[in-house]
Amino acid sequence: MEEAAVELDALHRLMKQHLALRSSLKEGARPLAKPLTINDNDTIGERSPSPKSAAAPGSPPRSPAPSALSDVAALYIEALARSAAGHANDRGRTDSNLLDLVRALEELEAAACGGFLGGSDPPRLLLRSSKLTELMAFVRDADEVPFAKPIRRRAGKGGERRRAPPSFVEAGKEPPMPHVPRWLPCFPESWEGWGRRGEKEMAAKEEKEEEMAVGMGMDGVVKREESGVAGVLPEERARVRFRIGAGSDRRRRGR
């Protein structure tokens, strides 16, 4: 899992670099001039590149614009995915399909730009959405620019994608709690085991609390119970005496 996270971080950095190369517009690119700052001597000087922005000592500082653009791209993908997943869940599905994606694209366009072509026609066919038409035109007209660096494929079963666990309906099981819908994927087995263990612990704890309440004497001293009960203090304990702020008092009184 950690290796996958490291690989994805490396991929993200590579994507930022690639977008930085792509965003160098037609006339050619140069790094942005270092931002100016006011130092303690009230003179204007150049800020040294921060550790976050500098790739390596001696290398030019990275400009923030391509970095911001790549962050926006990642947020756009996440927003699209979240919206499409939400549309799928609203219809009782865990797997999203093309219609969910088209609805998500239209929703983002409507929220961002105030509307999209064909939005005024509610009974429109989603497969004939203007967003899909625009994407088809983009794929047809734009140059294909693959990722600049080779990507290390994940080692393991080649070509197999992780499959989501079956739903309660598919597995023929009933959800453990009444508020859990049956079309959701099954809970992992370890969860079910923990759930049962947790119930047993709660029941045992309640029994012991009842015994302790019964065993309470008139003087308020709790009688010694059988060992193994957590949280019960021993009957005979050394008396502890302390005073708050004793050190400061002694210093004041000159002791």
């Binding site: 690989e7 994805l8 991929l11 993200h12 994507m15 690639h18 792509r22 965003s23 160098s24 517009l25 006339e27 050619g28 690119a29 140069r30 942005l32 931002p35 700052t37 006011i38 130092n39 303690d40 009230d42 800020r47 400009s63 923030p64 614009a65 391509p66 911001a68 653009l69 926006v72 791209a73 990642a74 756009y76 993908i77 996440e78 699209l80 995915a81 979240r82 499409a84 997943a85 797997d95 399909n97 093309l98 994606l101 961002a112 730009c113 497969l127 004939r128 899909l132 625009e134 994407l135 088809m136 983009f138 794929v139 734009a142 620019v145 693959p146 990722f147 990507i151 994940r154 499959r163």
Partner: protein, 131 residues
């Protein structure tokens, strides 16, 4: 009949487009897109939809970059009163100013710190600093 024919054409165009996505390589790699999709709870075993998301994101970035280019060209082409301030190098560079103007049209509010000060009293007059 005409309507049915048109629908048939549209359906075949969409089918052809989705199958062509398997041959088209978007700039954003599939692994990265799948990572962001799974982080957001999107699950789909069809690789064509993953590619469609990648293409949609690439188109979005391409539109933003084009708008930023237009803003940059408009700024460079504007007449400059003080010739000494005119930049010698006329190359077009993506700046935060142009990017934030372009993103504002897409509903993204991007703010950038103009400068970074070492302390809260940096830049103030010595007299007011003593106060």
């Amino acid at each position: 009949m005409n309507n049915e024919g048109r629908q048939h054409d549209d359906d075949s165009a969409l089918t052809e487009f989705l199958s062509s996505l398997m041959d088209y390589t978007p700039t954003i790699p599939d692994e990265l897109v799948e990572h962001y999709l799974s982080r957001s709870g999107f699950y789909c075993p069809d690789l064509r939809l993953t590619r469609l998301v990648a293409v949609a994101a690439q188109k979005f970035i391409s539109d933003v970059a084009s708008d930023a280019l237009q803003h940059c060209k408009a700024r460079v082409a504007a007449p400059v009163k003080d010739k000494s301030k005119q930049p010698k190098d006329k190359r077009l560079v993506l700046t935060m100013e142009d990017l934030s103007k372009a993103l504002r049209e897409y509903g993204v509010n991007l703010k950038h710190q103009e400068y970074f000060a070492d302390s809260s009293s940096t830049g103030m007059d010595p007299a007011s600093r003593e106060e």
